[in-house]
Amino acid sequence: MDRRKFIQQSAIVTAGISYMPSFLSAKEKGNIVLGHNNKRYRIDTKWGALDFSRYPVKDCHEMVQDSQGRIILLTNETKNNVIIYDKKGKLLTTWGAEYPGAHGLTLFNENGEEVLFICDNNRHQVIKTNLQGRVLLTLDYPKETGEYSKAEEYIPTETTIAPNGDIYVADGYGKDFIIQYDSKGKYIRHWGGRGTEQKHLKNAHGVCYDNRDNNNPLLIVTSREQNAFKRYTLDGKYIDTIALPGAWVCRPVIHGEFLYAAVLQSQSRLWQQSGFVTILDKNNKVVSNLAGSIPTYANNTLDEMYQTVKAFQYPHDVCIDDEENLYVAQWNSGHVYPYKLTPVV
């Protein structure tokens, strides 16, 4: 077996073993303030805790909030792929048993009806559902690109939906292409992929539609192993790179003027539960790291970032609710339920 592939797989196996420590750390008191500048938070590690025997989780991959204020969690546990909480952490409902590789979760308001896009690593598909879990559309591996000979080469990790309904899929564990479809699922174009140029990607783990500048909406794509975000026009022309030295950033999440992202781990301590959360302002400058180093720039260049407090293990996604609270879902962190962080004003 390949050494790298093996490491990924054995990391998943050890998830079960490390269950105890994270259970214990769930008792942590909320007297610690995490973060910097005007983005500082208190943490509640018990927020999402449920009865594991009834509502188990494996990896907690991604979270979104719907217009009713509910927090929707996606896990690759097929007993309940989707777990829906209220903002207080009360379980409202669960659904989903057919997403063994549930990874990416994106919410889109489609002419008044909210829909979800689920990326499934194992099924090599993107599935569109309504909020009750009814399947509305399934996108198979993108043969039309001419880049793929079989489904297994395509391991989608994330989607983002433009206001016109165009679907952008990031093949972050496959060939690192971004594939653009129209709202019906008809292939339009693709770009990215691996290579040595700036426009290329390595571990294109996330993608998001950034409309913070109304006159100039664009796409931000994660290039996780390069510790960077890359910006593209909506038709895939490379614009520039936002370097995030030391940070294995997951998907970018835009909320208000800020960009939030879970950092799976620090480059300086790989595969040692060295994750944190990073927050960028409207100019894409890091202003706060939750459980990470103070962000500092020298001559406009960001210093290496790293975990400083072991508050998280492997954060995989953040969700910011309508009251500016922040939720953190974690991968391979001992079946831990999501944490909630409340702003310190």
Binding site: F6, V13, N31, I32, S268, L270, I294, T308
Partner: protein, 263 residues
């Protein structure tokens, strides 16, 4: 019944203990170009967390709050100096200790030849093992030559005969990543008068117990008498079967090496 009450009581104590628990600090980052140096080297420590300080020692002792607070880069001149650093802060549990040993140059080596490494981990050219670069804990660093064959031979040539008492080899140990210390290292020296190789020394390494994390580990093969020679050969036996506790038990392990020195 009594048993149950006792259990509940014990559980209560345990829970209340953990309720007072706080987060642990992550270990500080030791920053250096290489653990190998000539004459002197500077080591920086990074830990940008408000309300904490990093304490360090260079005498091998475990750092405490009574030890030096890190403020500016530490200059090292002595061979085999170990820098140990630990972060402390109110409201946090202290970090784990990070420790790195810095190694001064040895006898001048004119050239090195070694078994070709696996093409995935080729190092950085023919001088990789004598370039004074290394001690980086990440297997992706180009300072490492990686092997998954059974035996690796390294031949060192000196321009003039050198008195050799010690041979040092620096390895990577990252067992969850399949990288183990070798099983055995056999060092020989070339005896010109007899026109043959003679035994210098041997060490065996036991990796039966698990070592978590990723570390650089140097091994020294010593000969008290020492020998004057212009050729030294190190034969390294790579671990063939990973131990029973490993998730890939029985598979062939890897051996990563970045430097060889003689003293």
């Amino acid at each position: 019944m009594m048993k149950n009450i006792l259990l509940i009581f014990l559980c209560g104590i345990t829970c209340s203990l953990f309720a007072q628990d706080t987060f642990q600090l992550a270990p500080p980052l030791l920053k250096y170009g290489s653990i190998f140096f000539t004459g002197k080297t500077d080591i920086a420590i990074k830990f940008a967390q408000i309300g904490t300080s990093v304490h360090y020692t260079i005498d091998g002792n475990e750092p405490t709050v009574n030890d030096l607070i890190y403020k500016k880069p530490i200059t090292i001149t002595n061979n085999f100096t170990t820098v140990k650093a630990k972060a402390f802060g109110k409201n946090f549990r202290p970090s784990e200790t990070v420790a790195v040993t810095f190694i001064n140059d040895g006898r001048p080596i004119q050239s090195v030849k070694q078994t070709a490494p696996n093409s995935k981990y080729p190092g950085s050219g023919f001088n990789t093992l004598i370039d004074n670069k290394g001690g980086i804990e990440q297997s992706s660093s180009s300072t490492w030559m990686g092997y998954n064959c059974d035996t690796v031979s390294i031949h060192l040539n000196f321009a003039n005969p050198q008195q050799v008492n010690k041979v040092l080899l620096d390895f990577l140990q990252n067992e969850s990543g399949w990288i183990f210390l070798p099983e055995k290292i056999v060092v020989s020296w070339f005896d010109k008068s007899r026109n043959s190789f003679q035994k210098f020394g041997t060490i065996e390494i036991n990796s039966d117990a698990e070592t978590p994390g990723s570390h650089c580990v140097y091994k020294v093969i010593e000969s008290k008498a020492g020998f004057s020679t212009n050729i030294i050969v190190a034969d390294i036996l790579v671990k063939k079967n990973m131990p029973a506790w490993h998730a890939a038990k029985g598979e062939h392990a890897w051996m990563f090496i970045d430097e060889i020195k003689v003293y």
